[in-house]
Subunit: 376 residues, 4 copies
Amino acid sequence: MGNETQVFDDSVYGRSRVAESDELKQYYQDVENMGTKAFWTVANKIEPWEPRTLSAPMLWEYDKLRPLLIKATELVSPGDAGRRVLTLINDNLKESAAACGMLFSGIQITRPGEFTPAHRHVASALRFIMEGSGGYTIVNGHKMNLGARDFVITPNGTWHEHGVAEDGQTCIWQDGLDIPMANAFEANDYHVWPEEGKGQDQLHPTDFSPLTYSGSGVLMADTEWNEPYSPLFKYSWERTYEALQNAAKVNDGSPYDGILMNYTNPATGGPVMATMGAAMQMLRPGEHTKAHKHTGSIVYQVAKGSGYTVINGKRFNWKEKDIFCVPSWAWHEHCNGSGSEDACLFQFNDLPTIKKLGYYQERVYTENNGHQKIEQ
Amino acid sequence: MGNETQVFDDSVYGRSRVAESDELKQYYQDVENMGTKAFWTVANKIEPWEPRTLSAPMLWEYDKLRPLLIKATELVSPGDAGRRVLTLINDNLKESAAACGMLFSGIQITRPGEFTPAHRHVASALRFIMEGSGGYTIVNGHKMNLGARDFVITPNGTWHEHGVAEDGQTCIWQDGLDIPMANAFEANDYHVWPEEGKGQDQLHPTDFSPLTYSGSGVLMADTEWNEPYSPLFKYSWERTYEALQNAAKVNDGSPYDGILMNYTNPATGGPVMATMGAAMQMLRPGEHTKAHKHTGSIVYQVAKGSGYTVINGKRFNWKEKDIFCVPSWAWHEHCNGSGSEDACLFQFNDLPTIKKLGYYQERVYTENNGHQKIEQ
Amino acid sequence: MGNETQVFDDSVYGRSRVAESDELKQYYQDVENMGTKAFWTVANKIEPWEPRTLSAPMLWEYDKLRPLLIKATELVSPGDAGRRVLTLINDNLKESAAACGMLFSGIQITRPGEFTPAHRHVASALRFIMEGSGGYTIVNGHKMNLGARDFVITPNGTWHEHGVAEDGQTCIWQDGLDIPMANAFEANDYHVWPEEGKGQDQLHPTDFSPLTYSGSGVLMADTEWNEPYSPLFKYSWERTYEALQNAAKVNDGSPYDGILMNYTNPATGGPVMATMGAAMQMLRPGEHTKAHKHTGSIVYQVAKGSGYTVINGKRFNWKEKDIFCVPSWAWHEHCNGSGSEDACLFQFNDLPTIKKLGYYQERVYTENNGHQKIEQ
Amino acid sequence: MGNETQVFDDSVYGRSRVAESDELKQYYQDVENMGTKAFWTVANKIEPWEPRTLSAPMLWEYDKLRPLLIKATELVSPGDAGRRVLTLINDNLKESAAACGMLFSGIQITRPGEFTPAHRHVASALRFIMEGSGGYTIVNGHKMNLGARDFVITPNGTWHEHGVAEDGQTCIWQDGLDIPMANAFEANDYHVWPEEGKGQDQLHPTDFSPLTYSGSGVLMADTEWNEPYSPLFKYSWERTYEALQNAAKVNDGSPYDGILMNYTNPATGGPVMATMGAAMQMLRPGEHTKAHKHTGSIVYQVAKGSGYTVINGKRFNWKEKDIFCVPSWAWHEHCNGSGSEDACLFQFNDLPTIKKLGYYQERVYTENNGHQKIEQ
């Protein structure tokens, strides 16, 4: 694949290369009986030469999923389902119900007047709105109204619930969570709101958080914020898109990502939550980025426009509201299919965790002017 | 003054209360001859019961200074003066040329086509624009255009220069610096740009910094920033005022300051520079705050509206572009003089330093419903 | 189990409780064909009421493993095996070759004159010495001599190799790594030293790191340290045991752990490496701690003495050099079996990761004076 | 002085170089009447080309001060004096009672059975013990016994008192404080213990802090420490000297300072207190360091041995217990006068503040192989 000209040979000095023998076979049986295993029989598997990816690159087309979502509204209620969500399942990760790596993705649909039961969990959640009007989220008593392409977080341990106003229109959004990661650490949990059929009281004026914390370069002087997540819970599309456009006036951007901006905690400049990051990127008209790969898993949602992404040599065509994933250590490059309009990709990822744990690596695709050959 | 009912009696146990004697007089002479001093003869002076303020509360009326600034343009050139600035001198701090505590303030005037010689120094600088058009600052090759009520920083050690375009109008702004603090630490310095009569080359597109870094809740993903000051060099009035207005919709604000927002480094959420902070506050129509006092010195500039501030019982009436100072540990309360318009106060201060050094203390004025009696 | 009187009922409002139907069965088939799954069919599984532990509590007796280790020295060489290690395999984690949670543990044996091939990997490693003399580790050119009960780290990305001097005695130590965690994040890798049969050159005087960085409360003034791991690579038993004894003179310690001290990075006060922490605890003569449980996995090695640990109601008797594990969210209490001698437990864990990710929770066992009932 | 070959010419472009005129004289008078000053008349003074040092290099010989200290015990009691201290006064800083820059130094003497009144203040204090036995300090209820060459801190805002046991011997130590700095920021204060003639109750076992926190590379696991100063209040000479000796085995050390180790907060690796740092350095037998200069003020106390320091070309001979200071931006080099014994210098300084404020600069003396010419 690509410029991987390096040969990885497990027979070299430094790798496990013990020849089989009858004596060893007996020995392996003996040690297994003691709750152990000869390390050299598994070393090369658990210590791969390069990061080993289990996740498959995948794309979920919104057009095909939308009728199934509508159908779900006829079959189950939020009150019985907990949340009326279609979970995006990676072909290789059915056991953990992950979309990519240890990231969960689902698409939730809520009709006017409906709301999910309030709940909280150790896992962190985020949402990116696809369509509808009158949607809202309540996080620890903070109610926020949601419009298309808005980004909203419901962090680790916060009580939250979602709904659509009686006079709104059916809302559909993507839910991103770190449930598989929390389960891998044997740490996830779940709490239901103590009052059945009733949610949280609203403790603050609607949109308190974005009105207070979305200023540009300013923060309330007398407000302390010590939580490990952003006090800004909702990032509006208008402000995000304006920031991308302004940055594009004076920045070339990244050769691999165009103009890529992370959503940040304004109180720290860091990621919005402890485990997951989120970002929005703009591919300018005709922009075709170069390929690179890095550790860390990414789930993308097309926020605007259409184009394609090449992942490990396979082309995935996308248009607005489609969702696709780029697994850890997979080569990827993006192409805006339009020569006149920009295209925008929302993403969420596990990069804050990957970087905190010292697991981040990146490599640039150097052959063919940075572009992968596409498999036929 | 105020609710200071506590009696401070230097004759109590724990204070220095040594009675004079002839033998001691001789002893004091002996120890002074050895480059020392008996501590108990100075202890009560250098360890006051409460923070001891040398700085006087003062107000400088813009109307009265403006003609002198105009006059200066006829008398000296920026090229000869270095910078054509009237320094605001606190009555009690003439030696250090400080406006308040260890803060320097000056008012600079520049005519169309003029520019100051480029220079840099260990001291940090900031500017708040009073009037004019076509003004600009260049900081380490970053040129930024400046309009009235914009706030701009020229941090510690950066090359900087200021000017007004040929087709602009005479610009006047306040300069705030930590020169007295840097000198108190015996640390200030000065470098002139190596090419006489010529300034820095512009290394980046005009307004690169605000276009890149003034997004709301987002930061460029591939930009590292490791300097001890904000990558956002200019904070526009429009965005700042919008933030104040939004916050006022859902926040009561501080009883002592109304809606007070700190200018922040978006990469950290902390102050814009290492030594000095800056903030903008909005006093809503008719708002009269309660009095408090704290350590740390503040220089205010009226950004909008008119009203008065009571400092240690003395009333200072202010209107737009006036500058006044509140010394460390001085009681102060603000009053917006209008019942229909908001009033806005820009400030810069040494609070980031005060807090880093563990020197911050605050006290609330509890008598008379929080309002000082005004001296006649 | 224990004081878990809370009833978890999946039929309550807020949980997924959709009744089966033929229509739904068809629907589930339809959505699976689209690479998705109805969330409510998996929600209660992937969002357990409380952290769900897969790992089994286990104990590996050194006496039983030692003969197998000796046998390994006759069967394979370090040069062919890469490392001559018996991996401790949790009964429930055979796929990931983990000892507990996402922690790897193995026991390595090296004869006089032998050394492992130098290598490096994204995974972090640590070692706790069981027996032998003349052992050494080389980390990025730093050679350190190792004695029984010494603790040594070979952090993330550092070149490392281990050996025993020709005139030494066969060395056995425990290796702890985060290999399963790095693999779960699809991030592990492996590099062999470029020169076959030859290791790193020694770039610093032997024991440079402990001689430079193991001072008490002092650090070299002109040494910068910016790595995400401790500059102190070796923690000697003598200094660690002295610290425990000193602390025990004036501290009651934790009711759940006695005198428990974390090995720290002296340049930050934080854990020794980014992903894993390590600690040593002293159970005083006769000490029997109370039970608690928390998220995070722990692998213990008995450094001194004997006693037992009760894990989820099952008693595990241990003596020096035995290894046992306490899984995430398992009740555990420790008992020193001696009334006259202290007992010391070394541990390594994933707590730094658990805490950074916001996954830490703790619960105290309140019944029966804090002691679990032991299963018969 | 030295290699300062750079010429600083105030007539160059970029400096203030306005020629005098009668019109300007009148103008200067006019602006002064308005509480301002023409900046160009003070610019070159308050913006020196290089850091401008007011403090004089000075040395205080212990032999000469000791009789005056003894005499003080006959003249005043701690109860009346507050503290029986001879303050070391820099010849150029009599107004602020500083020893160097904004650092205070004094020598305190306490006889058996005496103790100072308990008090606290915003200023931070530290002590380095010169002689005596049975001395103790109580910091926030923590009593610590003090021996010669021990270093102890009494941080910002902590209640503290000092005394000597009835059966001890007269104790003499150096007190270092940031009183002048706290006063320059108009922030210092003073509180006396509410009960006359009685001090704090001891709230913890004697030496709790050093027994708990002076371990090497370990910290109590269940102890949170959120104060802005070290939880280790006492640093014993034995451990410090051992660390210097160990480091000297494998480190060349600094060409300017030999083996220089900072006392650190073990919970952070940073300085012991927010405003001041402290360090101990070892000059090996015959070691003569090279000269450098930097911003920041240092007060030294000779802990062991004898030698001399050259400061701005002037030689200061020192022996054990002498105190001397090196002002900001003064060239300095140290020489151990013995060819067979090491010499150790204790120091405290304002470097943590200087660095936090971005005021640190350093320059190396390049001429004459790094050695200053000594003035005759």
